[in-house]
């Protein structure tokens, strides 16, 4: 039987001050955390900074870790909250409203065909309101269930489902716009 120290065990040890456990936990989750941060921001540099901010805050936050939720659920909740804080703090509320990531810059640059898909993605993401975008960012990884996403966001599963249908509606609107000359 192969065994790996469970996240929760490591988190508890880290909360008690075990440095190695904390390092192990971070090493295990950083990559996925970064990917989530990228989807929350759409920008590599922003994502790295956000991920680092979260990592920096974890030691203090872990002190309050009570293993009430799965460690990853808790971690992603911290991440989503940190993303909100960061948007608010950087005064980028206005920017966040128009853009997701640095797509504006890129759109001017590449008009080639290869970027069409990315352009559509950026346009679509930029069009979505923040909470829908965050929900999407959270749910696309394969092993993330709607139930878990709901737990992360502190919402009911029904709300997540509603949000996804809302995303569909908005995408339809984009499609209609595109269809127009």
């Amino acid at each position: 039987m192969l065994m790996e120290t469970a996240d929760d065990t490591l988190a508890l040890a880290a909360a008690r001050g075990d440095r190695d456990a904390f390092a192990g936990l971070l090493a295990r989750h950083y990559d996925r955390l970064y990917r989530l941060c990228w989807r929350l921001t759409g920008d590599r540099a922003e994502a790295e900074d956000l991920a680092q901010d979260i990592c920096l805050a974890l030691p203090a936050k872990l002190r309050h870790w009570r293993a009430e939720a799965r460690f990853t659920t808790w971690l992603y909740r911290v991440a989503v909250n940190a993303a909100h804080d960061r948007r608010r703090r950087t005064g980028a509320a206005s920017r966040a409203a128009i853009g997701w990531g640095d797509w504006e810059v890129n759109r001017q640059a590449d008009l080639s065909e290869a970027s069409a898909a990315q352009d559509w993605l950026r346009a679509a993401m930029a069009m979505l309101p923040e909470e829908l975008r965050d929900t999407l960012a959270l749910t696309v990884e394969e092993d993330m269930t709607q139930a878990e996403a709901a737990a992360v966001l502190g919402l009911s599963e029904g709300t997540i489902a509603w949000r996804m249908s809302e995303v569909k509606k908005r995408l339809r609107a984009i499609a209609r716009q595109e269809a127009m000359p």
């Binding site: 192969l2 990559d31 030691p59 640095d102 339809r172």
Partner: protein
């Protein structure tokens, strides 16, 4: 619009989003971890400020090199959004490129990125706002005096005229980076010859060179081969250092009985190695092989050996011979010593000087706070007439608590609470003071011991470690012993701890949890504080007629010369009240197919006369505490000595565990599964759950080594 199409739009968005998600840039994790661990270490003070204080902008990255890396990273990420790159470049290749680029930038002040490279989306602000104090200004766009290079776009750079048309950008550059050299040629008459085969990953390197700093290539390319140590250098600084150092020696080799029939070593009752291994495995990493001392792992566990009878020597030796679990053609000889456990009421009064390291490094919650809790556990174990004093050492050493009778618990606890971490470590000074205090306390018939609690950041002072060792040895001879409790990990100086405790006739234990503190300071307190036999040496003489080869498992740091056995001036380990000590030999019979060492050509071995069926002869020397003359115990090792009891099985399983962690040279196909099965067989009553814990650790190690 049909429902299907609606769903496919969402599906397309989800898949697109997932596909577009880039992997974390190279080094980002290390940077984040370095920052987070620094925050982790700083926490005890920062606690009051709450988590808000921890959330700071990453502009003030902790390490000087980071800003520079950020610049490169920003540049790369911007470039990566170019459609052509998005189509052909794997982000992994970019990551590799980053590493190879570093030495060139680092070693080449001056060369600047041509302005033409700020193509379109590569916004200069991107770099400038990100790292105003970059150490690599040369990679900032727009600051250079327009070198005579012509590459206005990345494409022309990467596909120079000589490149065969139609070749993919990724593969344009040959491994020797010949065209980078060519690029440099116009400006560099004295360009060094192309280097010998450059490192692999040509595509990645050429990409970065071509994109980012074509001119940096000039000596850079030639340098790539010779400066390669540098790239590891830079990121290495970003990774938190593990400054633990461990004492160990190469594993004991197989010896031929006719050449070297006598094996001599000192007992070892330390357990620190096991706790360090446990901590490492629980954190999800295999311990460094140097941290593994097999005898300390084996001796971590209490074994159910028969205790010495009244009027006998203070300890009893039980020998068992069993088939070696990992080799059917050899046998395992277990020598188990069980120390007498004197009735608690009979013990002499104890003078305990706690020497507490309060240097800044003791701040972590697994250090000073755990130490305080551990000492609180210890107090109720003391008797009213025992005396406790406390000396703290940080920048300077000071007496925190004058000798106080153990019954004045409130006074002692209050002194304990006043301990606070801060300052550097003046270990030698603290030790001096602790010994002076102990001498003051010692009365006739009393036992005095200094209990040093440290994370190992032990500054031995101007006199150096040898002088310190001498001092400890002198004090030991005057009857004041020293034990060491290790705390925390990160700069645990295991080697110093070992040296201190070995010379002080004491025990080195590593306390990682309160549970471990209980084991050392409560369950086995009398063993830790009261020695029943000092300078215990074990010597085995093997009978060449029965044993052709033998190997002592563990005890590498405890080996003694053969002549040291009878020399009472040579120090060795002590056995505490109730301690048990286990040693395992793997022995091979003369006709066994498992013999490892072929006979020599010129040294014709005398045929050994069959004198008896004894495998060997065991001699033990020890001194009663305070005595200077040693006593001798002798016993033959017989092939049928004792049936393989569960205790021997468990000890063998732990010895296998240790060998699996250190290379498993002698184990053949025997692996984790077998070790775990054997440990399960030998688990026995396991009153305190220590053995069950060991079995889970073996499972953890099995999982980790399967990766």
């Amino acid at each position: 619009m049909t429902r299907d199409q609606k769903d496919s739009d969402l599906d397309r968005l989800q898949r697109g989003l997932l596909a577009a998600t880039p992997p974390a840039p190279d080094g980002a994790r290390d940077r984040a971890m370095a920052a987070a661990l620094a925050a982790f270490d700083a926490l005890p003070q920062a606690d009051a400020q709450g988590s808000g204080a921890q959330m700071r902008s990453s502009q003030d990255r902790p390490v000087s090199g980071a800003g520079f890396l950020t610049g490169v990273r920003t540049m790369l990420s911007n470039l990566a959004f170019r459609p052509v790159l998005a189509a052909t470049t794997s982000a992994a290749a970019l990551g590799v490129g980053l590493f190879v680029l570093l030495p060139m930038i680092g070693t080449n002040p001056g060369p600047v990125m041509p302005p033409g490279l700020t193509v379109g989306e590569t916004t200069p602000e991107g770099f400038q706002s990100e790292n105003p104090q970059s150490d690599g200004p040369q990679i900032r766009a727009g600051t250079n005096p327009a070198p005579p290079v012509t590459p206005p776009t990345a494409e022309t750079l990467m596909a120079p005229e000589s490149a065969p048309p139609g070749r993919d950008i990724e593969t344009v550059l040959p491994p020797s980076a010949a065209d980078a050299d060519m690029l440099a040629a116009p400006q560099m008459e004295a360009a060094p010859p192309p280097p010998a085969p450059a490192p692999p990953a040509p595509a990645a390197r050429s990409r970065v060179q071509g994109d980012a700093s074509p001119k940096a290539v000039m000596p850079g390319v030639a340098v790539v081969g010779s400066v390669t140590p540098a790239p590891t250098d830079l990121p290495a600084r970003l990774v938190p250092e593990d400054r633990d150092s461990f004492a160990n020696a190469a594993a004991n080799p197989v010896r031929v009985t006719v050449e070297d029939p006598v094996s001599t070593f000192s007992v070892d009752v330390d357990t620190a190695s096991y706790a360090v291994i446990r901590r490492s495995l629980m954190a999800g990493a295999l311990p460094p092989a140097d941290a593994v001392r097999i005898e300390e792992m084996v001796n971590y566990f209490p074994y159910d050996y028969p205790a010495p009878a009244e009027g006998e020597a203070p300890f009893h030796a039980s020998v068992a011979v069993m088939e070696t679990p990992w080799n059917a053609d050899t046998r395992l000889v277990r020598i188990g010593l069980q120390g007498r456990l004197p009735a608690i009421a009979d013990r002499p009064p104890l003078n305990l000087v706690l020497l507490v390291d309060t240097s800044g490094s003791m701040q972590g919650p697994d250090r000073l706070p755990l130490l305080k809790q551990s000492l609180r556990l210890l107090l109720p174990q003391l008797r009213p007439e025992d005396q406790v004093a406390m000396v703290a050492y940080a920048g300077s050493a000071g007496e925190v608590l004058p000798p106080t009778r153990a019954e004045e618990r409130e006074t002692i606890l209050a002194a304990l609470d006043r301990l606070e971490a801060g300052g550097s470590t003046a270990g030698a000074q603290g030790l001096d003071l602790a010994y002076r205090t102990a001498r003051r306390m010692t009365g006739a018939g009393e036992v005095s011991r200094v209990l040093l609690a440290t994370d190992g950041d032990f500054n031995v002072g101007a006199s150096g470690p040898d002088a310190l060792r001498d001092q400890i040895a002198r004090e030991r001879d005057s009857g004041i012993y020293l034990s060491v409790l290790g705390f925390g990990r990160g700069n645990l100086d295991d080697a110093t701890m070992q040296a201190l405790a070995q010379n002080g006739n004491g025990q080195a234990a590593y306390i990682d949890t309160l549970q471990e503190a209980r084991k050392v300071l409560v369950d086995q307190l009398s063993g830790a504080l009261f020695s029943i036999a000092d300078d215990v040496k074990i010597q085995v003489e093997w009978n060449p007629a029965e044993v052709a080869e033998y190997r002592l498992i563990g005890y590498e740091t405890r080996m003694l010369a053969r002549e040291d056995f009878n020399n009472d001036r040579v120090d060795a380990g002590e056995i505490g009240a109730g301690h048990s000590v286990t040693a395992l030999y793997e022995v091979t019979a003369p006709d066994s197919p498992a013999l490892r060492l072929p006979p020599l050509r010129y040294q014709v071995a005398e045929p050994v006369a069959e004198t008896s069926d004894e495998l060997g002869f065991l001699r033990l020397r020890y001194k009663a505490p305070g005595e200077t003359q040693s006593a001798l115990i002798e016993a033959p090792i017989l092939p049928g000595s004792g049936e393989p009891d569960p205790e021997a099985r468990f000890a063998a399983a732990i010895a296998g565990f240790g060998q699996l962690l250190t290379g498993a040279t002698y184990l053949g196909d025997w692996g984790w599964t077998q070790a775990i099965a054997l440990a399960l067989e030998g688990r026995g009553a396991d009153e305190f759950g220590y053995r069950a814990e060991a079995i889970s650790l073996m499972r953890l190690a099995q999982g980790l080594s399967a990766r």
